[in-house]
Every structure is written in C-alpha cells, then in structure tokens.
Symmetry: D2
Subunit: 439 residues, 4 copies
Amino acid sequence: MAAREEFFAGFQKIPYLPSAGPGNVLCFKHYNAEEVLMGRTMEDWLRFSVCYWHSFCGTGADPFGFQTLHRSWNEGTPMESAKKRLRAAFEFFTKLGVKYYTFHDRDMAPEGSTLEESNRNLDEITDLALQLQNKTGVKVLWITCNLFAHPRYMNGAATNPDFHVLAFACAQVKKGLEVAKKLGAENFVFWGGREGFHSIHNTDVAAELKHMANFFKMAVKYKEKIGAKCQFLIEPKPKEPCKHQYDYDAMSVIGFLKHYGLESHFKLNVEPNHTTLAGHSYEHDVVMASVFGMLGSVDSNTGSPDLGWDTDQFPMDIKNTTMVMKTIIEQGGLQPGGLNFDAKVRRESTDLEDLFIAHIGAMDAFARGLRNAVRVIEDGIITSMVKERYSSFRHSLGQKVEDGSATLEDMEAFVKQNGEPSVTSGKQEKYESVFNHYI
Amino acid sequence: MAAREEFFAGFQKIPYLPSAGPGNVLCFKHYNAEEVLMGRTMEDWLRFSVCYWHSFCGTGADPFGFQTLHRSWNEGTPMESAKKRLRAAFEFFTKLGVKYYTFHDRDMAPEGSTLEESNRNLDEITDLALQLQNKTGVKVLWITCNLFAHPRYMNGAATNPDFHVLAFACAQVKKGLEVAKKLGAENFVFWGGREGFHSIHNTDVAAELKHMANFFKMAVKYKEKIGAKCQFLIEPKPKEPCKHQYDYDAMSVIGFLKHYGLESHFKLNVEPNHTTLAGHSYEHDVVMASVFGMLGSVDSNTGSPDLGWDTDQFPMDIKNTTMVMKTIIEQGGLQPGGLNFDAKVRRESTDLEDLFIAHIGAMDAFARGLRNAVRVIEDGIITSMVKERYSSFRHSLGQKVEDGSATLEDMEAFVKQNGEPSVTSGKQEKYESVFNHYI
Amino acid sequence: MAAREEFFAGFQKIPYLPSAGPGNVLCFKHYNAEEVLMGRTMEDWLRFSVCYWHSFCGTGADPFGFQTLHRSWNEGTPMESAKKRLRAAFEFFTKLGVKYYTFHDRDMAPEGSTLEESNRNLDEITDLALQLQNKTGVKVLWITCNLFAHPRYMNGAATNPDFHVLAFACAQVKKGLEVAKKLGAENFVFWGGREGFHSIHNTDVAAELKHMANFFKMAVKYKEKIGAKCQFLIEPKPKEPCKHQYDYDAMSVIGFLKHYGLESHFKLNVEPNHTTLAGHSYEHDVVMASVFGMLGSVDSNTGSPDLGWDTDQFPMDIKNTTMVMKTIIEQGGLQPGGLNFDAKVRRESTDLEDLFIAHIGAMDAFARGLRNAVRVIEDGIITSMVKERYSSFRHSLGQKVEDGSATLEDMEAFVKQNGEPSVTSGKQEKYESVFNHYI
Amino acid sequence: MAAREEFFAGFQKIPYLPSAGPGNVLCFKHYNAEEVLMGRTMEDWLRFSVCYWHSFCGTGADPFGFQTLHRSWNEGTPMESAKKRLRAAFEFFTKLGVKYYTFHDRDMAPEGSTLEESNRNLDEITDLALQLQNKTGVKVLWITCNLFAHPRYMNGAATNPDFHVLAFACAQVKKGLEVAKKLGAENFVFWGGREGFHSIHNTDVAAELKHMANFFKMAVKYKEKIGAKCQFLIEPKPKEPCKHQYDYDAMSVIGFLKHYGLESHFKLNVEPNHTTLAGHSYEHDVVMASVFGMLGSVDSNTGSPDLGWDTDQFPMDIKNTTMVMKTIIEQGGLQPGGLNFDAKVRRESTDLEDLFIAHIGAMDAFARGLRNAVRVIEDGIITSMVKERYSSFRHSLGQKVEDGSATLEDMEAFVKQNGEPSVTSGKQEKYESVFNHYI
C-alpha cells in the first residue's frame, strides 16, 4: 500500500531550543512539555488544544474579501476532503506536540441533505478520528455543535421563534453527545452565537430564555442517560453575530444558570477575546468565573482592544498570559478543561508555515506566562501583600462578618467605640512594579 | 413672621399648554398629570422624581474645571445651607409639579466629625423634610447612603479590605434605614460606586464579594427588625469611579443576588446611562431586569453613546423613552419605583431657569414616550406580530418544550418525521417601520 | 418577442399615501417626490440612490453563517446572472421611484481570469446598463472599484507592499474611470478598505501613504485626460477589515489630502455607520466635512452604537435624519452627491418584500428628517439663538479677530480695560427642547 | 539661616541597583541615566519630565469623592503654599534624578482676582523657579496655559462664543510666552480641553475653528516678536471634558494645521491615553505623528483599554514602551521634546512613597522599552524583513510610482504584460513572535 500523503512536508516535530535566536520561529524557546513546575509538567498545566475550524477549515474569507488560504486537504468530494483534513490535522497535532483538539460537528463532517445523512457522515468520519486518536494519543478536549451557520439557525437555535428549528438543534445535540461519548471528549461546549436578538422589537425575551433553559435541561438529561462523562461548558460572548447575545459574559451566564437551577451541570469556557468585546479587561472573565467556581476551560486567544469584533488572534501578550496562568494555578489547574487555541492565522498569513509559527508563538507566550506566574506565586511577595491587606477580617468582629453572624447594630457599636477608620494606601503602583519584575 | 425666602422667584407652577410654540420652554406640551391613559393617570404611570444631589447640591465642577453653578441656597453654615436647600427643593418640586424626590444621606445633611454628629445633623434636617413633605404632599421615592465620597471609602465600603471601613458603612446604612422609615421612603437604593477594583493585583475578589453579600444580609435583617417597608434596590454600573464594579449590569447583579440567596429581597434600579456604559443599548437593562421580574425603578437619564463616562444628561430622545415606557406598561407599572431624574444640567447651563427647562424637557420626552407606547400597545399590531412569530410553541411538542417535558429523543423523532424547518423572515425592517409610525 | 421576466411580481410603483395606517409598510407616508420645500422638490433635496452590492449581490452570509437570501436573478452563468441582476435592479429602482444607483465594477460584472476578460465583461454589462438608464431615466450616482475583495488585495491595493498589486489596482481604476464616463456617473468613490494595516510591525506607514497619494494623483490625471466629469470622493472608515485604515474619519482624510496637495480634487463620501465606528456621534463627520467645504455625498445608513462593526442598517432614526438634512440644507444641497442607501436588509429578512420595506422605511425616515429640518430652518428660532450667541464677534476687536488682524497685545489691553468676562449659559437643554419640538 | 524644610524626608537620591529583588521598589533596576546606548545616554534618549499638576497639585478628588491626598506643601496662604510646593517639587526632581518638569501657569502660581494680580503672582513664583532651576540644573520641558479650569472658559477659550473670553485667553497666553522665555522652556503646549462642543445644536463649528486658528496665529506672531525659542506643540484629545474636541487625534490636528497654514509652526505632544480614548492602539498617534514629521513630545502615561475616560496612569506595559521608543529612536530622538509623565498616582495611593514608586516604575518601564528597542534595531531582523517586503518599489516602474512619474496607462500596460500578481504572506504572527523575543 502506498505511503500516506504528507500535508506538512518539510516540517519535523517542533523541538525545544531555549537558546535559539530571534529569527528561528520554528522551535519552542519557552515551552518544554516535560519540565516540571510546582509539581506538574508544563504540558499538564497548559493542556494545549488546537481548534479544528480555524486551523483546518478556515479559508481566509472575511466580510470584505474572498478566500486566501488554499490547503491541499481541501480537495475532492466533501467526504474525501473531510478525511484528508483529519489526517492533516493529526499530522499537525503530532508535529506541533499538542495532545488535544476541539471541533464542531459540522467542521468534522459535512452536513448532509437530511439529519440522517449528516449523522451518517459524522459516524464515518469520527470512526477515522477514533483510529487516529488511538494511534497518536491525541484526545478531544471538547466537542461542540454548530448551531449557527446553517440558514435554519439564522433566528437562533434554542431560542428560535419556530419550535421546529429548536427541535433540529436538539436532534443535532443528541448526536453530538453520542459522538462526545464515542470519542471520549472531556468537555462539551455550547456557544450561543445566535441565541440573542438583532432587534428587541420582534423578540419575546422571556420566552426565548425559557426555551434555552429547557434546551439545556434536555441535554443534561440525555447526557446522564447515555452516561457521557464530558463536562458541559457554556461559552459567553456579548454580541456578534447577534446584536445582543444572552450569554453576554461570565456573570450573565452565571445569573442565567442560577435562575434556572442549572449551575451544577455547567461551567464556563471563557474566551478572552469575547471578554474584551464585553468591555472587560483581558483576564476579567477568567478571574470572575474562577471566583464563582465556574471556570472550566479557556479559549486562549486575543483581540485588539481598539477593535469591536472578534479577531481570534493568537495570544502573544506575556502580561496577559501571566495573569491567566496565575488564576489557573491558584484554582489548582483547569482539568478537565485546557487552553484551546480558538485562534486563526490572519487571512494574509498564507504560508503553510504560518500555521506552525502562530501556534508556536502562542504556546511560548503561555509557557512564559506559566513560568512567570510560578515565580510570582513561589516568591509569595504579592500574595502576602494581599493577605496583609485583608488581615482585619481575621479578628473579632471582622471574623463575624466573615461567618455571617454580625449585625448592623454590632457594626454601629464598633464605630461608636473606635471612631473613624484610618485611610490605607491601595499601593496600586507598587503592585504593578512588583508584578512587572516577573514579566 | 416674615415671609419665607423665595428661591425661584418669577417662576409659577409650570402649566400644561399643549399648543405652545417651540420657543416656549417653560410649559409642558405633552405631560398632563391628570390625564388618564390605559386606566391610569400620566402622573401615576410616570411617577417622576427629582434628585437632590445633582439639582440642589451640584456645583458644576468637573475633573477639569471649577464650580460654575452658584445657587442662593448654598449660603451660611453647612446646617443653615442644608435647610435653605431643602426649602428651595420643595419650592422647585411644587412649582414643577413632581410628587417624589430622592437623596443621599450626605446631600440632605452635612457629615459631622463623628458618626453621632452626622446622625444628629440628619435627624435635624429630616425633621424639616418631614414637615415639608406633609405640607406639600411630596414624598420620598428612595433614599440611599453615600458610601463613596468620603476618603474612608476610597477602597470600597462593603468591599473595603479594612473591616473598620465596612463597619462604618454598616453604621451609616443602619441610620439610613431609620431615616427611610421616618420619611416613608418607598425604596432604598444601594449604588456600589467603589465596590469593585482598580487593580486586580491588590484585590481578593472572592473575599470582597462575600463581604458585600453579608453586608446586604445585615441590611435585610435590620430592615425587617425595624419594620421599614422600603423596597431594596441595587443600581448597576459597570465602571467609574472604579475600573470594574461588581454590580456591572442587570445580569451581573442578578447572578450575584441568586448566588448569595438574596434575590427575594432586592430589585434593580436601572440607569440607562450606566446600561450604555456597559456596552448595551439604551433600553437593554430595563428590558432584561423586567424579564427576570427584577425591574424596580429607573434612573431616567441619558449619556452620549460616543462618550465613555457617565454624563447624566436629561433624557430627550423620544425613541428611547417610548421603549422604556412600553416595557414599564407591559409589566404593569413601576410602583413602588418611579422615574427618577438622576440627571444634571450641564455645567455650562448656569441660568436658574435651566433647571426648570431641563426637567420640563425630560418630562415631556417621557410623556411623549408614554403616549407613544400606549398607542403601540392599544393598536396591538406589533404585539400580534410577535405573538404570531412564536405561535409554534402553543401546539403539541412545542407546548411540551414550554412545560419542560420534552426530551432530545422526542425532538429528534420530530425532525426525522418532519424534516428540515422552513426559513422565516425576521422582518426587522418591518418592525422598525411600524414602530416609527408611533414615534 | 417574449415579455421580460418580472423579478418583483406583485409589486407596483410605491405610492405616496400619507394617511395609511401603521400596518401598511408598502407605501410612502412622508416621501412625496414632487412636493416642493424651500424651493426644491423633495426628490431633489434627497437625491436617493440604491446600492447594487447589498441589495442585488448580497447573499446574507456573515462570518458565522451561510447564505440566507435567495434571489431569482442569481441564476445561470455569471454573465447571464449579471444581466438578470441588472434588469431586476432597474425594475426595483423604477418601482421604488429612486433615480440613482451606485455600484462597484465587480458587482456589476464578474471578474474574469485576466484583466482583459474582466474589462470585456464590464463593457458588455455596462452596455446593457446604459440602455436601461436611457430607458428609465435612472442615473449613476457613483461608481467605485472593488479593490479589496480579491485575494490579490489582501495586503492593500494602493498601499500594497508589492508594486505589482498597486499596478493592478491602477489598471482597474483606469477602466473604472472609463466606465464612469460612459455611464455619466456623477461621482467616483474611493473606499480604502484594505488601505491600512493589521500590524504595525510589518508596515512602512510612510511608504504606504506616499504610494496612496501617488495613486490618487494618477487617477486625477487620467480623469482629466479623458474628460470624465465625475466628482472624486473618498469614503472614510476607521477600521474593518483592517485594524487601522488610513482614511480613518473625515478629518484624517482632510489632513491627508492637504498634506499631499490633493484637496481640490476630492470631496468626502461620509457614511454615518463609519463615523460612529470612529467614536463620533452620528452626524459628526457630515457636519465636519461640510464645515471644511468637503461634504460631497452621504452613504445614508446606520449602525448600532453598542456594536463595534459595520452593520449597514437602513437608517430609521428621525433625530439623526433631521440633523443630517439640516446640515445638507444649510450647505445648499448635496449635488452632485446624494443619499445612497449603503444598507442591507438583515440576513434574517429573507422575504423579497423586505427589500422594499427597508428602502421605503429609510426614505420615509429621511423625508421626515427633511420636513423637520425645513421647519427648524424656516422657523429660525435655533438659528437666531446661535447667531446671538456669537454676536460679540461682529463688533470692534471681535471683528479684528475674525479678519485676523488682532494681536495678543490688543487682546491683553482689552482685558486690562474690561476686566473679567461674564459667564453666559450655554443653554444646551433649551436647545434640545426646542429641537425636540420639531421631531 | 535655618535649614530648609525637607518634604521627602527619609528618601535619598534613587539609586540604580540592577540586581535588587522584586520587593525593592525604591531603586531603578533598568534606568541607568549615564549608560550609553546607540551613541547616546539613556537620559538623553528618554528626557524624562515630571508634571507639576498631578504630582504636586493633585488632591485625589474625583467626580465621586473628595480629597484623599494630603501633602505638607499645601499649607499656608496660596502664595506661601505655591512656594513650598515649588521647593518640594525640586526636592523630588532631584531625588528622583529627573532633569525636566512641566507646568500650567495656574498650578505654578494662584490666579488672582484680576489678570494683573495673576501675572504678578506668576512673576514672583517663577523668580523662585528660576533660582531653583539654576541651582539644580532642572529645566522646563514645557509650559502651558490653563485655559479650561476657570468658569470663564466653560464654553471654550479660543473657541468661546464670547469674544471677551477669547481675549482673556490671549492675554493669558501672552504672559505664558513671556514666562516660557524667562524660564527657558524648550516647548510650549496648547491643550484644547474645552475647544470643542457639548452640543452641536448651540455651536457654530466654522466660526469656532476660524477663531482657534487666528488665536494660534496671534501666538505665533508674539512668540516671534519676543524671540522666545520654545517649540509650539498641540496636544490632541478626542473628548473629555467636551463631548467632542477639535484636536481629536493626531490626524485631526494635522488636518487643521494644514488647512490654516499653521503646520510649520507646530508639532504634536502626543499622549497615549488620549490616543486610546480616540479608538486607536496605544502607539498609533506616536507613529502617525512621526510619519508626518510632527512628533514633538510624548505625555508618557497610560489608560486602561476598557475604560472610556482619561485615567492618566503611570505607564507600566513593556510592550507599549518598546513600541514608543522604537519610533522615537527611528526618528532620531525627541529633542527638544521629551517623555513627560502626565500621570497621577491613584487617589488610593495615599502614601508619600507612592509618588516615588510610581515614577520609578514608569521610568524603569521606559528604560526597558528603550533597551528592547535598541536590541530590535541593532539586531536588524525586523527592519530587514520590512525592507524586503517593500523591495519591489525599488525597481523600474515601482521606482516611477515612488517618484510620482507613473501613470495609470503605464500601470495597465504592466499588468497586461505581467498578469496577475502573486499573493505574498503578510506573516503577522512571525513578526509578533520575533518582536516578542525582545520583550
């Protein structure tokens, strides 16, 4: 039998060469998979994942321009091309040295003219995926169903005014859960790109939210029925394509989940580019989700703060990666989540090597972030400054506030006895200067 | 006894003159308090309130410039001036024809050098307020405690890292609740202007959120203990003065309240200028709060969408006021909340008459909004278009989704039987055109 | 000969029915083409134009979803479809009652595999366009060349780092100018969608700006050479698709043009959706361009202030249309420019009638804006308030400031003699209230 | 004679201790004034300047809270305090090791009740300033007149509708220029904080722009008359306090200057916090001003990209400082401009040491930026990648485009001969990865 086609000919497994010069962008200078930091390998802290849609299905088309990226795996019939794409992807994962990948049902296998045909396509391609997973050891970080690209979903999937469309979304998620189980996906993501509205005039928000909640409840029930183990994740995004999306940001989703009694079944997949589109700082939703015990996974990408749409760039800012990794370490890691590169090479980055360069640059950026965060935490200077700052809550009436037993009368009595509090510097610039030491 | 000083000499009670010309800005052309629409007077639908801080304490100072507004009531010692200010305010309320007002403890009476002195000041001035309320029939829409202006609160009040400061905030709120009871305030607002952070580096978010929740719990308990009837309201704002405020927007507050089991004790006081600062459209938080049954009151003002800070302008956009009033009518009114003009004349609007002109313009804008919304609802065209749009959920399996009894398997079976859903136009431009008919 | 295919069967010429009810969205209630206001017909003040790309080439695809709009004219080979599209468009123009249209070279005729083939395609289709223009009286408001969609332009056209690409753009513009002359286009637009950068790291800004200036100079020279009469217009946009576009906003373009000595050859085509993306208020660039004598035409659309990308919605806000029309009347009209609906029906607005409804709604919105602006100007109240506000510049030293002959010494002497100026209210709320009278 | 009061007791001259630990924030770890890089000392490349208003006049008041910063120099009568403040400032400059400072006329000396008294105050305090300058060698980087804080300027200074106010502004600038000459200020800045509008309704934009231009012309004439050598600088800002400011951003100012023939007399003082408020990336206006030969000086501070107002934080982001310094080196330095810390310690940073910590942190951030930029430039990898990218313009017809002699016909002929250009990767991720090597 003929040798398999090689899609990334000329590329070897990317090595770790910490002393390589600036012009050598096809090696890791910071990411050393097996190196142990704070008792865990870098690979284990970072749990990198490559996304299928941008890196293997992306064409470079944008709203103002046509396809620029031409990939050799996009040839033949849809099913032939799906198989080539899968082989190309596993070749890339392996050469890059990444152990996880993520995909939508519809970028893995082409949609057929009926649900049944779509499901058969998915069965056939995921059989191959399972083979390749077993052969390479690469695993599925998460699966998601594409409930936004097909015209049927233009007015929403779970929140569509037409029940028939919601039914289709449900059928698609049922199959998605079966595939998740089959492939051992560690998580299952819901991104509600069209769950929201373009115009409040034509929208019954209360009805739509209830439908969305019931949709999630059906998914929970079916997951339990079939014994799938994947963690459910909701991915917040404030807008785009909708004018307003219900899963606006971390706190919106947490409020929604708690309102409908769904909070024990879901965590969040936070994407910083979505966070900044919601008007927050880069690390905000990662931090808030973590504080509420809801941080499940991170779509590690970036936007530009001066742009108002999702650019899904590869994350390259060391300060940002340090902040994210500090939060992740402090919550004890992301398992079963990971850092998924929901990022695409620019449509102008048309060389095949750009796909490697982009991932390597981002992995090194996160490896530097991890190394920095470890130093911040191991040095303990910032941690102890913060601890000291809140120390008054560890004594007497402060402690009663902590445990919920204090009353307004107690507090007034304290003030009558102790008078005006002193004013204490917040020392923001000192914190920033100390933090900069580690960057 | 000498006649009382008149602060707005030359101004009479503002009349309703529907056919006055454009140059006459000292009469109502749309607001006719006693006129009945949909079974209720305009006054009752709108429940207008004048705010004390901007309109009677405002000086026109901004971060780049000094005081421009010189008011005759700001003369004498702080306590003398506090009384003059109160008389001026009630003269204004009466001449304007507004039945509610709102205030912070510290704009009503000056802060003393101790809590006790501050409380005595407040007692003395609120005695006069009660007299004036009884004499004029003007009532308190809501009271709030200023927990942000004094330097002690620079790092937060309920979320201050120093327990002592939290104690002071509690003591202040205790007194505020007592005053609320004394004056019959219909609501009590918490605006957490410094409850958030400037730098994530020096902040223990988890600790601060817990302290804030426990602070609210203490307030709930004390309110119940003294038998105050005021509805508790939280006012969301995303940022300013803090870089990030925990009460970011309606959904953030709802999430917070539900997480800490506080949702039955609080509703929201939504300020559209804060809503737009959070990246939403003008009416967004009014609509979302209403959908979640949490819309308590509205700080009816506006910002400029091209500005990133709180300008607290008088609301003058008829489309916006129509949208807000439509939501309010649909939820059956705002009682015990109202439309509070948390708005300030521009610092360049230095004439005394500008205070009347601004309020009149805004009241007319909301009166037009009310009249428009009534026509929208009474015509029923938009309502029936929306009802039709969701009609598939009133039959068979759609009904089972509504009542939560459907399963993914049911839904898949439906699709297998019925195939691909048809694509239905959302008709946004038609809705917009019909809506424009009423503007 | 067989009757021509009808693309908008069932639609008649849209009538003016001022007293039609809210549900009737297929008639004009405000736009009455022949009605004369301030000495000119409404048609003449408004000079409405339909754009070809959105309304006849648009598919409803967005970055997250596939085609939703299926038009009967998109059938057959590219050239057959181009002809059908043209006939459909003229049928639409005629039924809608609009006298102008606008197009890109590449939406009029398909791009061939060589420049020569593309040009032949364009010749053939524009022959038909000329026939239809002559038959219907519909004219070209402006033509533009699509220098952004083809992959060759991914790194820019006039600012591409590769000279060869710039050469291609020049060749395309040369042909575009010839077509403009042939069809009697009244204007010729340059929109530099890819003239900017995604990353400052790989960009030589100085070189790119110079190339762009020289590109414009070549176009000026050729236009003059062939005796084309069209007014050149540059359309500012701050970003999207680029991270940063050189033609950021009105003032950026004016600065660029003056720097390179091009200001006498160009005016601006201002698109309010681009203006708001640049952080300005809706009317800002219309006003600024007009003040600098550079307002040539308006792409009358709108975005949502809470969205950070170009949504190209149909303009429906009466306050905005009033402001724009006031500026246009004050500068004596827009000729040879017009109000071009660079707007697209939402991808969810899939009914054919939505195309009519959207245009009618927007035309009525501008007709109301025109009527309002005429009343504002004819009443003269606001105008005389403003005139009075600046009256001190009509006397003595004020007049010398106006004519440029005053000196700092004169001014100091004036202050030494006259002391402190008085503070005069800006009366913003009064202006807003008076303005609201007309809305 | 008694020893002078010491305002910063316990602080010594800040040393350079490159190997100090993270907790030591009272030394430089990167800024080594005398160290030579690329032929110039660090001090000379960076030309750091401390600003007077934030660091010596700032009180910590914000729109929502009172003074938090209590400085010992703010005691006594206004004139006594002005002198103490000056001595404190020079003690700080000297201990910090910075050679330049900047100030507004009104923060140096208190405004009197007449222009004459204000001028006398200024004379007296600047006599002392001159003494201290001579004694310490500290110099004035730039002076500016405060034309925005006094109520007379509430509607603008040069653009005030009242000629009398403009006259006052002129008189103030006349004196400011005399002071600039007396103190040897190297630059003179105009920041038009109130030169713009809050409402387009009450504004005659054309008149205001002309008045502003004539105001600048008077200043140019007087500067020349008295032989002052200072470089005139305009500082762009898009908004705040005004809704819209005419000096919106670098390109707006360049357009204005060229329109009124003022471009040879002015350069720009770019403040990155203003740049980001205008919707650009941090380095954008620095780069654009430099490209147009108009970069005069930099107000080196930062905002937060998620905030919509001017926070004037100390710059701490190494990527940003690297980008700015790369541009400055490439244009050969900033002389006679410099890096002025128009930055304020947070109002919560109430310790006196915070003033040192903040400046040291920012100076080190810029020193790291300088060191990084030098390595980028000396390595030459990025530079040569860019040069190669544009190499096609160095040959034949490309060269004719450069020199302006090419025509559309030439370009078309080239395409007809050479066909379709090839598509070349922009390699953004490679540039980012190489750049990250230096951060």
